[in-house]
């Protein structure tokens, strides 16, 4: 088994930053990433960036001001009636 080099560790860590922040890594993988990030400013900043991204996404998530278009059920009723009528005609033919 080849011992991972620094470049391998960096690529692996970069790919797993979201897993780390989400708590989806095993304790062994977590320690591995933390050891690398401790020495790697880019990965350390990457952890902060993932946390900032999640805050940004979560705070963008509240769109309780958005409303379904008025009259949407009227349109659905019309669609359903058309579909029923088409089916009846096909049955009669």
């Amino acid at each position: 088994m080849r011992w991972p080099g620094r470049r391998d560790e960096h690529a692996w860590s970069q790919h797993h930053l979201s897993h780390y922040v989400e708590g989806d890594l095993s304790s062994r993988a977590r320690r591995r990433l933390e050891m690398h990030a401790h020495e790697c400013p880019e990965c350390s900043r990457g952890i902060r960036a993932v946390r900032a991204l999640l805050r940004l996404l979560h705070s963008s998530g509240d769109r309780s001001d958005l409303r379904a278009p008025a009259g949407i059920f009227d349109r659905v009723r019309v669609d359903a009636a058309h579909a029923d009528s088409d089916a009846e005609q096909a049955h009669e033919a």
């Binding site: 989400e22 880019e42 999640l54 996404l57 963008s60 769109r63 958005l66 379904a68 659905v76 579909a83």
Partner: protein
């Protein structure tokens, strides 16, 4: 009665009564049942397809399919999860049609809204606007399965289990898509801008 993320549970008694009535063809009961979720359904569809006009069409098709399928709905399931799943499937169908036509996928301005910065000022507002635009573009660039994962989990705030069920995949596959989606969005926005935004 809109159920917020984390508050949903198996169909409760008043809802079950509406389901029973809707399953016998009671249109008013169906509209009351589904109407409670229509705004959130519209929001998630708009986030997935990005365009308001198309989102309205997809919502209409979703409700029509729900009406046709309500007879097969199992009361032990959650009505919200069931509706979301239909909406996600219809949204992905619309995105596939758009892809075949070769039209660019874009997220509407309304789909994502970054809140105002704590320290408000012309400079901060411009930076927030730029970040919002970049976020919209990054989400729009995601392939449908990745966009679905990000929208359901990180924007809609659903649990991994709920979101995976709606997306129609196992939790491990869902998480893999979610992490990949975040990786792509992070790469698009850049760590420097994200860390600066705090």
């Amino acid at each position: 009665m809109t159920h917020l993320p984390g508050q949903r549970r198996a169909t409760d008694a008043p809802e079950r009564e509406l389901v029973d009535r809707a399953q016998t063809g009671d249109v008013a009961a169906f509209e009351e049942l589904i109407g409670a979720h229509a705004d959130r359904l519209y929001t998630v569809v708009l986030r997935l397809v990005g365009d308001r006009g198309e989102a309205e069409d997809v919502l209409q098709e979703t409700l029509l399919r729900a009406w046709r399928g309500i007879g097969r709905f199992q009361a032990r399931a959650m009505i919200f999860t069931w509706l979301y799943r239909i909406a996600v499937n219809e949204s992905n169908r619309a995105l596939e049609r758009r892809l075949r036509r070769g039209t660019t996928v874009q997220v509407d301005d309304e789909a994502v809204q970054v809140p105002a910065p704590a320290k408000d000022g012309p400079g901060n507002r411009a930076e927030q606007r730029e970040l919002r635009d970049a976020l919209e573009l990054a989400i729009a660039d995601l392939a449908p399965p990745y966009r679905t994962a990000l929208v359901l989990r990180d924007l809609e705030g659903l649990s991994t289990r709920e979101a995976a069920e709606i997306a129609g995949v196992g939790e491990a596959a869902f998480k893999s898509r979610l992490h990949e989606a975040r990786l792509k969005v992070r790469a698009s926005l850049g760590d420097t801008a994200l860390v600066a935004a705090g």
